[in-house]
Symmetry: C2
Subunit: 205 residues, 2 copies
DNA sequence: CGTTCAAGTAATCACATGTTTACTTGTTCG
DNA sequence: CGAACAAGTAAACATGTGATTACTTGAACG
């Protein structure tokens, strides 16, 4: 597959020629990128090592295996995504727009892509489902949903539709669909506000 | 990977022990299923052949290669998806709900999944982008959008958000997120109507 | 029946991939 | 310095995978 060197500035610190921590970081970043855009199965350890500019064997040294490296990429996913959860309903559209289109949190977007695109693996399915469920329930809670009240199952479904839209945005942006792909957070906020309102506002017919 | 035999009724016709057309069909169905749920790279030709209950070599006989089989799965995708495009705005929610949750059109859903999940391949990226773009433009047109009018770029973006939601529904349903995963078309239509209205109705603030 | 050819099969090939091994080289600290 | 150890490297290994080959078997037709 096409090579893509990923060797961002080592941020200060005189570049030592042998730096285990830095090598680990390079591998993690390259892996996250590859896994997110090409998927787990289509990515080879040699691709990753080449991108990172590092010897292949070091993947097994630092992460035991390809799967270990993948697991390391997933580390901290849940907490990272949990951050958007606590926001009050009014700020949700802004938060989503910022997280999906903002210049910051590039890693977050990659992990989201990775999570959504990876399939077949039991473990990933589990993590994905957990993240999605928690996210949707928090969203629904902000709109008055309480677990166990069957009357409000509709509300949970509607919260999950917001999630669907978010997931779709991540994927379709990665697909390069214009103008969505190059829309800024500010561009996305108004439509998202309408969308969230339509799904969760109490005063709907 | 786990085996899943896929051998639906040969619909009438006394089962001949040697039937090229039927074998081709079995291979196509097994392949579509595997590619959709496991992704292209994670699927092996032996998996497919086993699911279809057919000798591996026949894949190469009938489709030249694994890639050829994949291409055959994609055959007719565009036209198949185009069908929802022509519907008037009012019926769009129903159409989407039916196509994503209806019992019919199982192949359509599989192909959508396949299209959304497959990544890295140039050809697939091209097809996916084309389908998405056409779909969004038709949706936007129904709401009054005309190509080239920069004022109405917002409308196209909003139409694409409907697409995002649709794509998200397909993927999250496949992930087993409840209650979304088991929601019927009738369950989905009302929220989708609100969503489409919020995105495309002219009389919004 | 028996010829003929498509349909199907098992064995094998060539190669890519994840991993391991034996080795070399840089860094640290006495 | 120089011993000791971690970091890094190149080569090889074992296996899984897509594809090919030489072969067998069933169906169609005179």
């Amino acid at each position: 597959m096409t090579p893509r060197s990923v060797q961002p500035a080592p941020t200060g610190a005189a570049t030592r020629r042998r730096d285990a921590a830095n090598t680990r970081r390079l591998l993690l970043e390259a892996a996250r990128q590859r896994f997110a855009y090409d998927g787990y199965a289509a990515t080879t350890v040699r691709d990753i090592a080449d991108d990172a500019g590092v010897n292949v064997a070091l993947i097994n040294r630092y992460f035991s295996s390809k799967e270990g490296l993948f697991a390391a990429c997933l580390e901290g996913v849940e907490e990272e995504l949990r951050r958007t959860g606590g926001t009050p309903l009014g700020e949700v559209p802004d938060a989503i727009a910022g997280q999906l289109a903002g210049s910051a949190g590039d890693a977050t977007k990659q992990i989201l892509l990775l999570l959504l695109r990876s399939s077949g693996d039991e473990r990933v399915d589990q993590i994905r489902l957990g993240v999605l469920r928690a996210y949707a329930e928090r969203l629904a809670s902000a709109a008055g949903w309480r677990p166990g009240e069957p009357d409000e199952a509709q509300l949970l479904l509607r919260a999950q539709l917001i999630l669907c839209a978010s997931a779709g945005i991540v994927i379709l942006r990665a697909s390069g669909l214009q103008p969505l792909a190059s829309a800024s957070g500010a561009d996305l906020t108004p439509p998202l506000r309408d969308l969230v309102d339509a799904m969760l506002s109490a005063e709907r017919k």
